[in-house]
């Protein structure tokens, strides 16, 4: 089974795990995500852009007063792709068990 190359990248995998860890309909503040994963602003931005291009996350930039605020959440497509990725990982383990 092929692993989704968009999600397979280690940083993007962690980003998706964090977003899918929240309930459907919840969204994470950019800073919350950055601090949770220990990433730099630039690093997180680059990987979020890639995930957004794949349709796995949605990014919304708003203002709270005069302060910019960026919200991120996993799309339904992103949650399905992430679930499929986990299934693929579990299949790899099952195949190993079966071959013993």
């Amino acid at each position: 089974m092929d692993l989704d190359p968009v999600i397979h990248q280690p940083t993007r995998l962690r980003i998706m795990a964090a977003l899918v860890g929240l309930d459907a309909g919840d969204r994470a503040d950019f800073g919350f995500l950055r601090d949770l994963l220990g990433l730099t602003d630039g690093n997180l931005s680059v990987h979020l852009q890639r995930l957004e291009e794949a349709g796995y996350v949605r990014i919304e930039k708003t203002f709270v007063g005069r302060r910019p605020k960026t919200w991120v959440w996993a799309t339904a497509e992103g949650r399905e792709a992430f679930a499929a990725y986990i299934d693929a990982l579990e299949n790899i383990l099952h195949l190993q068990e079966a071959s013993r």
Binding site: A18, D23, A28, D29, I86, L89, E90, L93
Partner: protein
């Protein structure tokens, strides 16, 4: 991909998902820490004022403390909203706010109708807060129910047998359990 790599990825995924959930849910524990600290200071001060015969000063002690608690709660609510935002965020926190408002109105009505004084007011407020935590725990985390039961038990025991130490017991035991429980919730989430 090698099976060991797949296993490592699955472990990392579960860990991060759990961390994300805890970080967004556990922040509510800070409210308990805030009010635990206020109880610690307020009830200790009340005990000292009662013991030294300066009862009329009790209101002057609690007015700024309660104001601090309300402002602190508003600040924490804003900070919480700035982090992971829940779809049901507004409705949950509005409900909790309305609950505490209704409770305050209920206590005020009982105090007014039955002309409660001093210690009776404190006992009523502590017991209704304890009941609230027990009920919250039924819908959220069990730790809230345990905290409510403990505070209620302390209040009833002290009010029945050691009334002269009621305020001190609520300060030290009630305040400590709120602070400790709050920190536990922050750490564990939920």
């Amino acid at each position: 991909m090698q099976p060991q790599d797949a296993l490592d990825d699955l472990k990392a995924i579960r860990q991060i998902m759990e961390q994300a959930r805890r970080s967004s849910d556990g922040f509510g524990g800070w409210f308990m820490v805030l009010w635990g600290a206020i109880w610690l200071v307020g009830f200790t001060g009340t005990h000292i004022l009662v013991q030294t015969g300066r009862d009329p000063l009790i209101n002057w002690l609690w007015m700024p403390l309660n104001t601090l608690g309300v402002l602190g709660s508003i600040y924490l609510g804003i900070r919480m909203r700035q982090r992971a935002q829940k779809k049901s965020f507004s409705s949950i926190w509005v409900s909790i706010f309305l609950w505490w408002l209704a409770l305050a109105a209920f206590d005020a009505a009982v105090i007014g109708v039955f002309q409660l004084r001093g210690f009776q007011i404190a006992l009523l407020i502590v017991l209704t807060i304890a009941l609230s935590y027990v009920l919250f725990g039924l819908f959220t985390h069990w730790i809230n129910s345990v905290i409510g039961l403990f505070i209620g038990l302390v209040a009833i025991v002290m009010a029945t047998w050691l009334v002269e130490y009621f305020n001190l017991a609520i300060a030290l035991l009630g305040g400590a359990v709120l602070i400790g429980g709050g920190l536990w919730v922050v750490r564990r989430g939920g």
